[in-house]
C-alpha cells in the first residue's frame, strides 16, 4: 500500500509534538502541514486531545489511582503513564516521575540502557532506562495516531523524528533504537534547528527572495530544557539556492524551565524575608504561577508592570491560607535579561564550576548566561579555520546575517530583542552590518511541522538542507612506545569520518591497516570534535588537546576463528537515516560492523 502521510515527531525534553502532511498528487504543489492533537490522560478517568504531549512518565504504584481510571483508547499498561497526568501527579509524588529522559539519552557519563530513571526512586519502583522512557513516549504517539487513523496505520507512514543537533552518534543511535522498539518502521532522524528552519520555509514559500547566496543563518532554539545553536549557510549549486548546515553547538542543558524556576526562587526569597516558608508543593505552584505571570507580562502589547501571584491555602482554607506575592516586570527583566541573556562580549566564555565532585545527575549547564554560550559557539567557528562558506568578521568570529528563533522562551519579544541587541553589538565590532531576524510562527510546534515538511522534501517536494554529520570522528591509536608505569601510552587520533559527511555516503580510510582480533574481545577508542572541521579521512592527529572529546570505547567480539588476527582497513558509512557506522574490511572481502557501544563506562 502506498504511504499516505509524512509524520514529523518532535521528541522534546519537556514536550513532544506530532505534525503530519499528506503529499499531494501533483509534486509541484506544496502540501499543508497539520498538527495532530494527541489523546492522553489529563486526569484519572479523563482522556483529552492536546497539542503537546508533555514528555513525562509516571510509574504508578498500587496507591496512586483508582483501579480502572487509567484507560486509554488503546490497550495500555496502567503502570506507565505518559503525558499531562504523569506531569501533574509527578508534582505530588516526585520520586516516581521520569522527566528529561532525553537529556539522559545524551548524557555520555552514564550507561544509557541501564534502568536509572527515576533517579532516586525508592526500591520496589520498576526503573527504566533513558532509552525505555523515550520508547514509551514514541509508543504513545504511535498508538495515539492509530487510534484516530484506522485507515492509515502508523507503521505504513514515513516518520521523521527530530534530535538536537548536538546529539552525538551514540545518542542518535539510541533514539533510533527507541523508535524501533516502539514499532516504528520507516524512521529518519532530523536535527531540530534544521526542522525549525524548514518550518520557516514552509510558512514562507517566497523564502528564496528573503535570503541570498553568502548569507549565514543562525538558528537559536531555546526550549524548555535545552538550548541549541546551528549555523546554516546559503550557497549555490547549478544556479539553484542551496542550504548547508555548517556548524552545531554543544548540548546545553539550559532552558525556559530554568528561567521560570529562577523567578519562583526569587519570589520564594521575598516571601521568606516576610517569614513565609513554602513547602515543595507550594514552591511548585509558585513555579507554575510565575510561568503564567511571566507570559502575561511579556506578551506583545502588554502594558502592565506587575502581575499578582497567589498560592491558595493548602487545606480547605483557600482564602485564609492564601499566600500573596507579585512578580514585577523589573524582576523579569533583571532575572531573564541580566541572568540568562546578559550583555556579554563576544570574547566571553561560559564560566565553569570548580567543584571536583558533583552529584550523579544530568550535566546541567553551569553558566546560565545563554549569550556567553552563544559567544563561545560563534567564537569556536573562528577557531575552526577555513571551512566552507563561514562568513567571518575582523577577529574571525562567525558573523551570521540572519537569525531564526525557536522554542517557548523566545516567544517573548524582550528575549528576542535582547539577543538581537547583543549579536548586533558583536557584529559592529567585527565591522559587519546588523543581523536580520527571520520571523517564524508557532514556536512551540515549529520543529514537528518542519520535520513533516522535510519528509516531503526528501520525496522531492521542497528544498533540502545539506548537512551531513555535524562532527568529525576519530579512532584512537596507541603509539608504539615503551610502556612507562603509571602513564598511558600517548594517543593519536586517526580521522575516520570528516565533518559534513553526507547521508548515504561511504568513505574508505586510506593508508592504514589494523590487526583486528576476531573470536575474542577487542576494544576501540573513539573521539569526536565539533570544532575541527578540516581533518580528512586518514589524517593522523597527534596533539589534539581539548579539541577532541572521547566517546565511550567500542568493545567488539567479532565472529571468526578464536584469536585470529585479521589485517583490515576501516570504512565509514553514514546511513540514509543519518547514522554513523564503521566497518572493518578484510583483504578477502569479509566485513565486520563496529557498533557504537551503548553500554558505556561511567566516567570516574
Amino acid at each position: 500500500m502506498a504511504r499516505k502521510y509524512v509524520i514529523g515527531i518532535d521528541l522534546g525534553t519537556t514536550n513532544s509534538a506530532l505534525a503530519f502532511a499528506a503529499p499531494p498528487s501533483d509534486p509541484r504543489e506544496q502540501a499543508p502541514v497539520n498538527l495532530f492533537r494527541i489523546p492522553q490522560l489529563v486526569n484519572p478517568n479523563e482522556v483529552r486531545d492536546e497539542d503537546l504531549l508533555p514528555s513525562f512518565l509516571y510509574i504508578a504504584g498500587p496507591a496512586d489511582f483508582p483501579a480502572g481510571s487509567l484507560e486509554l483508547p488503546w490497550p495500555s499498561d496502567p503502570t506507565y503513564i505518559v503525558g499531562e497526568l504523569a506531569k501533574k501527579r509527578g508534582v505530588e509524588s516526585a520520586r516516581r516521575l521520569v522527566s528529561s529522559a532525553k537529556s539522559w539519552l545524551s548524557h555520555a557519563g552514564v550507561d544509557r540502557t541501564a534502568p536509572l530513571l527515576p533517579v532516586g526512586a525508592p526500591d520496589g519502583v520498576p526503573k527504566l532506562s533513558p532509552v525505555d522512557a523515550s520508547r514509551r513516549y514514541l509508543e504513545h504517539l504511535r498508538n495515539a495516531w492509530d487510534s484516530k487513523n484506522s485507515d492509515a496505520p502508523f507503521e505504513e507512514q514515513e516518520v521523521l523524528v527530530t534530535v538536537p543537533a548536538s546529539f552525538d552518534a551514540v545518542a542518535r543511535e539510541l533514539t533510533l533504537s527507541a523508535a524501533e522498539q516502539a514499532g516504528y518502521q520507516h524512521v529518519v532522524l532530523l536535527e531540530e534547528p534544521q526542522a525549525a528552519f524548514y518550518a520557516w520555509i514552509e510558512r514562507h514559500p517566497d523564502w528564496r527572495n528573503r535570503v541570498h547566496v553568502g548569507d549565514l543563518i543562525l538558528v537559536i532554539d531555546i526550549g524548555g530544557g535545552t538550548t541549541d545553536f546551528t549555523l546554516i549557510a546559503v550557497t549555490e549549486s547549478g544556479g539553484e539556492l542551496q542550504l548547508e548546515r555548517i556548524a552545531v553547538g554543544e548540548h546545553i542543558l539550559l532552558g525556559g524551565d530554568n528561567i521560570d524556576l529562577a523567578l519562583a526562587r526569587h519570589l520564594e526569597q521575598e516571601l521568606l524575608a516576610k517569614g513565609v516558608k513554602l513547602d515543595m508543593l507550594q514552591l511548585h505552584a509558585l513555579w507554575q504561577q510565575c510561568r503564567a505571570a511571566k507570559e502575561h507580562l511579556l506578551e506583545p502589547g502588554a502594558k502592565k508592570t506587575e502581575h499578582p501571584v497567589t498560592i491558595l491555602g493548602k487545606g480547605a482554607g483557600v482564602v485564609g491560607g492564601a499566600i500573596r506575592a507579585k512578580l514585577t516586570l523589573d524582576d523579569i527583566h533583571r532575572i531573564l535579561l541580566e541572568g540568562f541573556l546578559p550583555r556579554a562580549s563576544s570574547q566571553d566564555m561560559p564560566q565553569r564550576r570548580r567543584i571536583g565532585l558533583a552529584e550523579l545527575g544530568l550535566p546541567y549547564a553551569q553558566d546560565a548566561a545563554i549569550t556567553r554560550h552563544l559567544a563561545k559557539f560563534l567564537r569556536q567557528q573562528a577557531g575552526a579555520s577555513e571551512h566552507g562558506a563561514v562568513r567571518r568578521g575582523a577577529s574571525g568570529l562567525a558573523c551570521p546575517t540572519h537569525v531564526l528563533f525557536n522554542g517557548g522562551v523566545l516567544r517573548a519579544p524582550v528575549a528576542r530583542d535582547r539577543l538581537i541587541e547583543v549579536i548586533n553589538g558583536w557584529l559592529r565590532e567585527e565591522g559587519r552590518e546588523d543581523i536580520q531576524p527571520l520571523f517564524g510562527e508557532d514556536l512551540m510546534h515549529a520543529v514537528a511541522r518542519g520535520a513533516a515538511y522535510y519528509g516531503m522534501a526528501r520525496a522531492g517536494r521542497g528544498v533540502r538542507i545539506r548537512g551531513g554529520i555535524p562532527r568529525t570522528y576519530y579512532v584512537g591509536i596507541e603509539s608504539a612506545m615503551p610502556a612507562v608505569p603509571g602513564l598511558p601510552a600517548p594517543l593519536k587520533a586517526l580521522t575516520v569520518a570528516p565533518f559534513g559527511m553526507e547521508e548515504g555516503a561511504q568513505t574508505p580510510i586510506p593508508g592504514r591497516e589494523f590487526g583486528l582480533v576476531v573470536g575474542a574481545p577487542a576494544e576501540f577508542r573513539f573521539f569526536n570534535s565539533a570544532v575541527r572541521k578540516n581533518d580528512a579521512p586518514g589524517e593522523l592527529i597527534e596533539d589534539f588537546g581539548d579539541d577532541l572529546e572521547e566517546l565511550s570505547p567500542v568493545e567488539v567480539n567479532l565472529t571468526g576463528a578464536s584469536g585470529e588476527l585479521v589485517p583490515v582497513t576501516l570504512e565509514t558509512v553514514v546511513t540514509e537515516t543519518g547514522l554513523l557506522q564503521l566497518w572493518c574490511v578484510a583483504r578477502d572481502g569479509r566485513r565486520w560492523k563496529l557498533e557504537f557501544n551503548v553500554r558505556e563506562q561511567v566516567r570516574q
Binding site: 486526569n43 478517568n45 479523563e46 482522556v47 483529552r48 483508582p66 480502572g68 481510571s69 484507560e71 504561577q289 499578582p308 497567589t310 491558595l312 491555602g313 480547605a316 482554607g317 483557600v318 482564602v319 485564609g320 492564601a322 500573596r324
Partner: protein
Amino acid sequence: MSRIGSAFKSFFSILFKGVLPEDVARAFGFVRAAAGNVAASPPAPPQVKTEDGALQLLAILQRDGRLIDFLMEDISGATDEQVGAAVRSLQEQCRQALDRYVRLAPVIDGVEGSYTTLPSSDPSVVKLLGNVPPNGKVQGGTLRHRGWRAEKVELPAVRAGQKLDVIAPAEIEIE
C-alpha cells in the same frame, strides 16, 4: 450491519432507552416477548444517573479551581484584600476549567442597554421585565442581561463503578 456498528448501536440504545434496537434484535434472532406473557422483570438501574454530571462538574471546579473549598470556607474574618487576592486566582482557574468542559455563550449576543428585538417568545429563553403588555406580545425592548446558554457540554465519560460522590479526595502526605 457491521459487528462494531451493532455493538455500538446496542450499547447506546440500552444505555439511553433501556432496550435492544429492533433491527439488532431481529438480526440476532431475538423476538420481543409479547406483553403479559412474561412477568415484567424490574428495570435495570440506569447506568448514568442525573446527578452524575452535576457531581462531575463540582469535582472539576474544585480540582482545577478550588471552588468548593472557597464556597465552604468561613470568610467572615478575612480582609477584603485577602478575599480579593484569592478570588483573582480562583476565578481565573474556574473560568479556564469551565471553558474546557462547558461552552457558554450569551442567549442574545447584543449590547446591554440597547434596544433589542425578541428572538423568541419562550419565557425560558427570554424573560420580560417591567411594563409587559397584558397579552404578553412585544416586538422588543431594552436588553438588560444577555443571558447564558450552554452550547456544548463535554464532560468525561463516566466509567462503571467510578466514585462520583467524592468530589475531592482527602490528602495525606507521607513525610
